[in-house]
């Protein structure tokens, strides 16, 4: 049941392939992401070996973090003398800029930051003159630079060089990947309202609470009626609506309780359409709790019922949700397939509302795979429909995502412009949670721009809303990001306070992955302080009840 992709497209067994020699440790063709300390050690050793010009790339989406790592490498290896060069703006020829910087100086290792400023948007970066000229000047680099050269750049720029300057890229002596694990939504794949395909009504927390009280009162009145006077359709609607409202408030148990009541009713009444819908709604509760297998099981049951009854309208919604569940599990091909199934039906039925949401999800899928051009195409399609349908809230969510892809490409001006556009609608419509998401991202941008005071202010605004609304997942993300911000500011005790809150909250939300990132960042901060301060951090760990404090060896393993 869990192998969703196979329900529709049975896959043959994988054919034989070239044998891969295994030493029992890892499969080199499926790396699990880079181990930063090891990458750093390897780079350090490469630099120690390197004589004369050698070309290295560091892929890191957060240059200031890469700089910290370089500083750490420098501290660990005092014999290395790194010369940092920050390109302040676009330069036409990298080599010329380097020649100007070097002058008559003797440099051991030249580390260059800011190359991304010389590149245009990601999708055309590989065809830019700057990249082409790297290719042209390849053989001239060793003529004028006689030491190892490290180019630190975001992954989109690295990809542009790989594709657009293959000769230059081919003479590399190493590519290293470093990434400070950011608690940004592009990594977190948050569970926004847009994802649930429920009512588009947006309530502030107060309004939602009032609504719940009123509907629960109405339900009580309904049950007070004699059984012969009860209209089942009213009961369905009340249970359903209450479930939805609790779901929107992240109150999973109450939401599930109402949806389960509705499911029992549908089964008693032998009403398959309602049974299918109730199952679909229950799947959303599991989705919200990140219980993917349970969510999938409900959806597959619902799909099977709908297929029997030929309800394509509901079928498309289930495909959409199956896509989202697969996407959350990073099963991108399956997700893509499900969305395509959904789109095929929505086009046939001219169900534009779901089509807009599916394009939006396809955009997020491409975004997760760093295919920004495809993501933008999907968002634009979504936006066209939303504007046509007058779906302002949908448009606001799409603006937010357009901001996200601009941010990921380090086009901060465009990103901010999209975020503000989104924010204006969210605030006007009273979507507090949407507003908080955007505040969080504006904080991330401010942090990238090293405007730390502004970043903190945005994060705190986001946090205030999420705490008030009880949005634990949003809280966990922002705690984590406040922790990262404190690390950047070298306020390690404060960082660990935030991170411990983030870890606990991610555990509450069943997200071990992000909890682990919090743990890793906690111990990175721990490693940056004196023995005396380490004891304070130990206390923070203990007070937060994060378990037994790890040994030094275990810490080494945790941050590796």
């Amino acid at each position: 049941m869990g192998e969703t992709g196979r329900m529709i497209e049975p896959q043959p067994e994988l054919p034989d392939s070239f044998p891969v020699m295994e030493d029992g440790t890892c499969n080199p063709f499926q790396p699990d992401g880079s181990d930063e300390d090891e990458e750093l050690r390897t780079l350090s050793r490469s630099l120690a070996y390197a004589e004369g010009f050698k070309l290295f790339f560091i892929g890191c989406n957060q240059p200031h973090y890469a700089k910290k790592l370089m500083d750490r490498m420098q501290e660990q290896n005092s014999q290395l003398r790194l010369h940092n060069m920050q390109l302040p703006a676009a330069v036409p020829h990298l080599l010329d800029a380097l020649v100007g910087e070097i002058g008559d100086r003797t440099i051991d290792v030249l580390v260059v930051y800011g190359i991304e400023f010389s590149l245009p948007r990601a999708e055309i970066a590989e065809k830019s003159p700057f990249v082409a000229n790297l290719n042209a000047a390849r053989n001239s680099f060793p003529l004028v630079i006689t030491c190892p050269l490290i180019l630190v750049l975001p992954e989109f720029a690295l990809r542009a060089i790989m594709r657009g300057a293959p000769d230059f890229f081919s003479v590399r002596s190493g590519v290293y990947f470093f990434q400070q694990h950011k608690f940004g939504e592009n990594q977190a794949r948050d569970l926004s309202l847009r994802d649930d395909l429920l009512s588009t009504n947006i309530f502030s927390m107060e309004e939602r609470q009032e609504r719940i009280l009123q509907l629960e009162e109405r339900l009580r009145e309904f049950y007070a009626l004699e059984s012969t006077a009860r209209d089942r359709r009213i009961e369905y609607r009340l249970l359903n609506r209450l479930g939805e409202l609790y779901l929107q408030g992240y109150q999973w148990e109450k939401a599930e309780n109402y949806f389960q009541q509705r499911l029992s009713l549908a089964r008693n009444d032998n009403d398959p359409a309602d049974e299918a819908e109730a199952l679909r709604h229950i799947s959303l509760v599991y989705y919200g709790q990140r219980q993917w297998r349970k969510a999938e099981e409900c959806l597959m049951q619902s799909l099977s019922i709908n297929k029997n009854y030929g309800d394509e309208f509901s079928e498309s919604r289930i495909y959409h949700l199956l896509g989202m569940v697969s996407q959350q599990q990073r099963n991108f091909d399956a997700a893509h397939n499900w969305y395509r199934h959904a789109l095929a039906i929505t086009e046939k039925l001219r169900d534009e509302q779901v089509a807009a949401r599916t394009y939006y999800q396809l955009g997020r899928l491409s975004e997760e795979q760093y295919d920004f051009a495809a993501a933008e195409r999907c968002y634009r399609k979504s936006l066209d429909i939303e504007e046509k349908l007058g779906d302002e809230h949908g448009a606001a969510l799409t603006y937010h995502q357009l901001g996200n892809i601009a941010e990921m490409q380090h086009d901060f001006a465009s990103a901010e412009s999209w975020y503000y556009k989104s924010l204006a609608i969210m605030e006007r419509m009273g979507d507090d949670l949407g507003t908080a998401r955007t505040y969080h991202q504006l904080g991330c941008i401010a942090q990238e721009k090293r405007e730390y005071t502004a970043a903190e202010s945005w994060y705190r605004q986001a946090l205030a809303i999420n705490e008030k609304q009880g949005n634990y997942y949003g809280m966990a993300l922002t705690y984590g990001q406040l922790g990262n911000l404190s690390i950047v500011r070298e306020h390690y005790t404060e960082a660990c306070r935030w991170l411990s809150k983030s870890i606990v909250t991610f555990w509450q939300c069943n997200d071990q992955h992000f909890a682990n990132i919090g743990i890793r960042n906690f111990f990175r901060a721990y490693k940056c302080v004196s023995n005396y301060e380490q004891s304070t951090l130990k206390d923070i760990w203990t007070e937060a009840e994060l378990g037994p404090f790890p040994t030094e060896e275990e810490i080494g393993g945790l941050i590796a």
């Binding site: 054919p15 070239f18 020699m21 440790t25 000769d167």
Partner: protein, 457 residues
Amino acid sequence: MHEDLLKKLYNACDPMRPATLDYYTDCIDGRGDSALTRDVLAKLKLAGEEKYLCYLFSGHIGCGKSSELQHLRNTLLNAEGLERRYFPVLLDVSEYLDDYDVAPIDILLAIVTELASSLRTQLNIDLKDNYFEKRLQEVKDYFLSDAEINEGVVPLLGAKIKIQRLKRAPEARKKVREALFPHMSTMVEEINTVFDEARVALKKYQPPAGEKRFDDLLLILDSLERIQRIDGMEEGLPSQRELFLERYFLLTGMAAHVIYTVPLRLIRSKFGPQLISRYGQLFVLPMVKVFLRGTCERYERGWHCIDALLKKRIGAEHSLAEVFTEEARVFLIHNSGGHIRNLMTFIQNACSNTDGLPIPLSAVHKAIGQTVRTYSTGIEEAHWAKLVALERSLDQQIPGGDDDYLAMLENMSILEYINGGSEDPFDSYEPWYAVNPIVRELRKFKEVNAKWVKPAE
């Protein structure tokens, strides 16, 4: 001890530098009997004194083209066993040309100035040519510094650095082109008189005792394949077509033996036959074959070549077994696909990932991991199905003129091989293609492969 050897190996395997005399290994057995030097020497012999060789040379990025050209240069210079001795002028055009903006005039200026510089630095011959000196004089105001403007006459000898600097100054380059454009047709003529002057000087030159006299010169234009845009043309293939096909008269019009490097993508495009009709047979340097066509079976002669290459880099005082465990060496060679620069990069990374010798399999795994990551995110979505189609094809061929396959050849997700041998000429000389072994092992490739459905005929 280990550290020293690792450091030595790390620097001996620099992917940036072509093989030196010490490191050069003849991989003819693994490259389907393809040997550039042998082929060029045979053709020079056939050309005699009557005709000039105009020779196109191609191959994958990093397959060893520059090493082969260096080897040819050294062979010509030493002239051991040769009837005639040629003075080789190896011109790396990337030192002169901005590959995003090239005009034919730039190439002519680069040739003249490099020829003058090579003769001066290697043989102490000063080339004087009034025509080009006058042209340089006319454009000297566009060179960069006031000091240079006040220099007075710009001799050919000193022009190299100034012409090279034009590469980085688009405005000055534009002005130089505008000023020289009216002279274009005569410049092509006049460059041939420069060659004649050089020939005369070479013949007059008294070599040190024991060395042969020079009979002629041979120009090698390396990195020409990297030119992306010819002035006024769309970048990429259209510009390469413009340079090598539409303006072929410029390249074939040189009254000197010349070797040009040409993009593999152009050769394997639909324009390949036109290139042959204009220039004659082309020489493509294939990968070193490490597995047999259409199988995973090891090709022993190719492996011997790579082993020999590795031994040279390690040095005679150490054995392969001292440096690599058997399984690490097997993994390295297999996953290099016979692509020498990739192999060099892997070895460097393996050196940095090991704590001692012999280098274990785990270090090689980590070394290859970097490339795995770059490939897994760098391959375009549309290419996966085509990679699988090649993998599944019975003849290991790619459809002619398919832009995607040409791009894959360029980014090395597909590698080209030649069988060689003399039994069946069709099998021997027909290039065949294989998916890069690393790409073949990627999760995405396997997924697409598993779902592959043969297209309808």
